[in-house]
Symmetry: none
Subunit: 133 residues, 4 copies
């Protein structure tokens, strides 16, 4: 199976972090189903053109979060995410990002109205380009 991960070479964000957060989203949103066998560390590293130790770290971290399960000699699987946990998880991630954005607006003294207008522009632009969800 081919996992769709986009790496931004120029970003200051560490490699492992970029991969983790995208893979996490794919799992939580259900785009990769529970029980799926992920690529081996070597194969994944080859796909992403990064070192095996980076992939190893990603798998370990997500296993620590309970999103993956590793079976010696077999491979790494997507673990289950309860529906309730999933909803909570989504909400948290999104609310956190929104809070950061609103804080930015406050710091720079944009009014509540202006900020809302900007939000509307951005959401329209993004969701249009993705097609209806």
């Amino acid at each position: 199976m081919r996992i769709p991960i986009q790496i931004n070479e120029n970003s200051a964000e560490p490699l492992y972090h970029q991969i983790e957060s995208q893979l996490r989203s794919l799992i939580i949103s259900g785009q990769i189903e529970e029980g799926t066998l992920l690529p081996s560390i070597r194969e994944f590293a080859g796909n992403l053109n990064c070192s095996v130790i980076t992939v190893r770290r990603v798998y370990q971290d997500l296993e620590g979060e309970g999103l993956l399960r590793t079976r010696q000699g077999t491979g790494t699987f997507v673990a289950g995410v309860g529906d309730l946990a999933r909803e909570q998880y989504k909400r948290d991630a999104v609310v956190d990002a929104l809070r950061t954005a609103v804080d930015k607006g406050l710091a720079v003294q944009v009014s509540e109205e202006e900020l809302t207008v900007l939000f509307m522009e951005v959401i329209r632009e993004k969701y249009k380009s993705q097609g209806g969800l």
Copy 2:
């Protein structure tokens, strides 16, 4: 003049980065006026309880962005930010943060409506705690 900067010791965000972004906001929002003489690097370092080198780096980076002007032997001043440039600057910073948040929503497959509701909750909560702007 006393510059109000809040340092979060526990944050993963580098010290110089915390200081930079807060000072940047103070300048572009106009809360520190053009031409203001900032504290000397030593004095500021004393206030912030950090090394002079860290303050030096902050001043240098912001000078690189054109927000500060420094003259050896004299001190460091707030450079002018044209009103138009300032508006653009604000907008960019905020739109960028909003985009990140909306991307997060997309990644996790939250619907446009849900995301809007969450935004409204967050903005109400934040702006209320700050009083009317």
Copy 3:
């Protein structure tokens, strides 16, 4: 790879500045190819017999100019300089220096003809000592 940098201990020009301008020239003239992995800051500091911090500053400044790209844990690379950009870059640097020289001539009231003669003497002397380009 060994980078040929000449340090002048007695110059009033700051160390980091000497290194920066020479490394910059090597890159934009194409003598160091795009994608080349530069020495680690520690190794380079050893070669140049200066502090790692000085090298770090050089790499950081040139990264800011877009000439280098650095990834934590991996190293520092020469970034691409588009051929067109490179030509512009060269021209700018040289024209700037020429302007300074001509200004000097004007300030001291040397005639256009005298100045041209002096230029011819200098260019012959310099280019001869370098061999044909």
Copy 4:
């Protein structure tokens, strides 16, 4: 007497240095005649909008070079510059700047021909804007 000095606030070049080199040029080129009484330190500082100690340094340095003479309680005068010395002085200053420019060209691997063309463009542009000398 009003001495025409242009200060560039944004330059990295130290204040005293900017003033010195311009005043030096004015004297050597004969635009300020031998024996002229220069403004008092305080007056000059007022004109240039800089500190008296900066002007003091300028006068001292140029006195050290033999270009000025100070008489206690009377003021600071322009000393004589022999015609031969003047010519040598001019030549040296200009040749030095030209050498710097040509070095830049070499560093960046511009050919002798290209460099000559650039020089011609620059000299035409500068001398035209100044009117015939």
